[in-house]
Symmetry: C2
Subunit: 200 residues, 2 copies
């Protein structure tokens, strides 16, 4: 199985978690591959998230549906990202979120039981995981500030600067949902910014 795994996982676990070759092999032996076809769901709201999921190939969106059926995208995930509902995973409670593949995707899953086993046998993995949660927390706090403060143009330009690759892979109406902008407004905004003559 290891042959088809992109180098990202080994890289990040070696460099950021400090795994040796043996430690990585032990970790890798606990993973299970899951194929999620385009438009299929990996997780539905109300289900319990039973594993952490590393994206080996593909592209997914995590979203939540409000009382009036309005749907908002909370996160995208491309190759080398992790996706899932950690709160559901840790506390074994139903998830508020759904996760759907936007392209045929391949996930490497680590079950809760194996996650706890790795954390116990390799405390450096727990440290790596906690630091990932912390960085994610800081990013979410900034997104919360931006959601409340930012103009549509500011939100769009920041995303273009920080994650330009999303625009190559993800339909614009999904990006609009992620930015909480109406799809028509996002199209107009992009057109206006493209046409704007540069100052000379």
């Amino acid at each position: 199985m290891e042959d088809s795994i992109r180098p990202g996982l080994k890289d990040v676990l070696t460099k950021q978690a400090g795994f040796s070759r043996d430690e990585y092999e032990f970790y890798f032996s606990l993973l299970k591959k899951r194929i999620v076809k385009k438009k299929e769901h990996y997780l539905q709201a109300g289900e319990i998230s039973r594993a952490t999921a590393y994206v080996n190939r593909g592209c997914l969106r995590q979203y939540i549906i409000g009382e009036h059926g309005k749907e908002i995208i909370i996160q995208f995930a491309l190759e080398d990202w992790w996706i899932g509902d950690l709160e559901s995973f840790h506390y074994e409670k139903p998830s508020l979120f759904s996760i759907q593949a936007l392209e045929d995707s391949e996930l490497m899953l680590l079950s809760r039981k194996n996650f706890l086993r790795v954390c116990e046998e390799l405390p450096k993995y727990k440290t790596f995981h906690d630091e990932k949660v912390q960085r994610n927390h800081f990013a979410t706090l900034k997104r919360l500030s931006l959601a409340k403060l930012g103009t549509p143009e500011e939100k769009y330009l920041l995303l273009m600067r920080d994650q330009p690759q999303l625009f190559q892979r993800i339909p614009l109406h999904f990006i609009a949902s992620y930015l909480s902008i109406e799809p028509e407004s996002l199209s107009r905004l992009r057109k206006r910014l493209t046409e704007k003559p540069r100052k000379s």
Copy 2:
């Protein structure tokens, strides 16, 4: 100094972090008290957050100012809460946030140097801290979802349910800023909900 400290800090460190009496006393000996008078700032945007701060008495708000001078409250803190910009604290970089006392407040500060010392000498404190960050992350993700999805009424009712004590202590225009609702709309909403006859 210990006499004037409310029991909350000892309680949480004993019950949640598993501190013994000696461990608490060691921890406590590293804290420094800081008085912040009403309307004074504990942290200004652009400064580096040099300590974690436990609120022994008082009430504070953490806010951010957008490009056009618009101000948004990201968090309140009452007794037994921690407040600060952890990203600034951990990476020693200028904070995006400001923190101001809404009442005369008393904070118990743990400097970065001492924080690292406690984490090293008492790994259970690191675990406690990481779990706190994780819970905070889950709450922030929900607030992000609510900020994008919720109606003003939903946001108000959830805050009333989860943190009713805020309404006893904090001026309504600050709560409006926290909920991203115009102060006049929040007043009208409260009036309407109070007047609404209950279904019999």
